[in-house]
Subunit: 219 residues, 2 copies
């Protein structure tokens, strides 16, 4: 499998064109990548015994390919290894950017990826996928941690998923209240929502005197 | 459909017992409810034409029943209305509480709900479900907004999903580094992650002089 040349936009398909609010959908690479790169938690859906399963997991992006990881014994990774040509998945990433107090709208950015996930068997691709995953969560961390050893690599499975059947969807701005509702005695507007990091908590067994690295304090 | 009497714990099934880290799974009602009540964004998975689909949406809880809403024209709600006895779904809620800098672990709380979703057709249940949904996102907001009118109710579909086949899973605490790794020159610990709200942004057409309600400033 070679990583394909990145198109300027993903081709819309029946699965990536929303049935509603089509004006909120986007297929250009920049939008999709920016939403993927702003997060690290995805929800991975697959079908098991005919029923849907959705599990949270970490992901990383290398060009037009996503990687998710897990224990070699975890369900989706076992399924992907068992199935040929791979495991049909839908990988979804969502950021809530604001609560829009009209009724219950919210400002969000989301990306939904459909496709076939493959288990990564090449040791070199697996190692760089794990580095990408760590750096996706905390940029700069991969270089500041011990590389995975053979035992850990064996216990860790990695799925790859190419960006192909992809869409982004976003809502921005304030409430869309009807004109006749503007004089009602209810507050209306947006409550911004963001991710916040607390002060780093050192491990109990951390070598005394070791300072918090810059890639954490700058987050 | 009557809401069943709530059990002290949900009965584990093949789908809710994890293949790994079983000690992190919980089935007691308090744990499951607390995770559900701490969030408002879920990822709803279902099968369409044999393939998995995962969409982000808002949810609310009333006792042992979850409600998700959407446009009457949206995919899962149309599917749930079309299928008898309902739509097989997997609804997942995840909170990231901290990044554990061992390699790429993270502290999280998640709930996965398997089951059959039904479209809510009873007008009274639909109205109270929408109120529960709004109050789940911003407690106190339902009473401080115009009730949905007939046109809006017709355009809005609500799915219900009973809490039955449910599990919670959580990781807490610091890194589990091997003893031989403790002297390595890498920082190790936890970076706390939380949700943060910004200052409320009034709608452009808000009546001048209207103050931000207490249920927002107290969030």
């Amino acid at each position: 499998m070679s990583v394909q040349h990145a198109p300027a936009a993903y081709t819309p398909t029946d699965r990536t064109v929303p049935t509603r609010a089509r004006e909120r959908a986007a297929y250009d690479r920049e939008t999709v990548h920016s939403i993927l790169d702003a997060g690290y938690l995805c929800h991975l859906g697959f079908v098991r015994d005919g029923a849907p399963v959705v599990l949270p997991t970490l992901y990383g992006r290398v060009g037009e390919r996503l990687y998710v990881h897990g224990s070699s014994g975890s369900r989706p990774l076992r399924e992907a290894g068992r199935q040929d040509p791979g495991l049909a998945v839908c990988l979804t990433v969502t950021h809530v950017d604001g609560l829009v107090l009209a009724r219950s709208a919210f400002n969000y950015r989301s990306v939904v990826v459909h496709g076939i996930a493959h288990q990564v068997t090449d040791p070199e691709e697996k190692r760089s996928a794990l580095d990408a995953l760590v750096d996706h969560v905390v940029p700069g961390r991969a270089a500041d941690s011990r590389p995975a050893n053979a035992k850990e690599l064996a216990a860790t499975a990695v799925l790859s998923l190419d960006l192909n059947e992809v869409s982004a969807k976003a809502r921005t701005g304030g409430p869309n209240d009807d004109p006749e509702d503007q004089d009602l005695p209810y507050w209306s507007g947006v409550l911004p929502v963001a991710r916040a990091y607390g002060a780093p908590v050192p491990a109990q067994d951390l070598t005394p005197g070791m300072t918090v690295p810059e890639y954490l304090t700058s987050l």
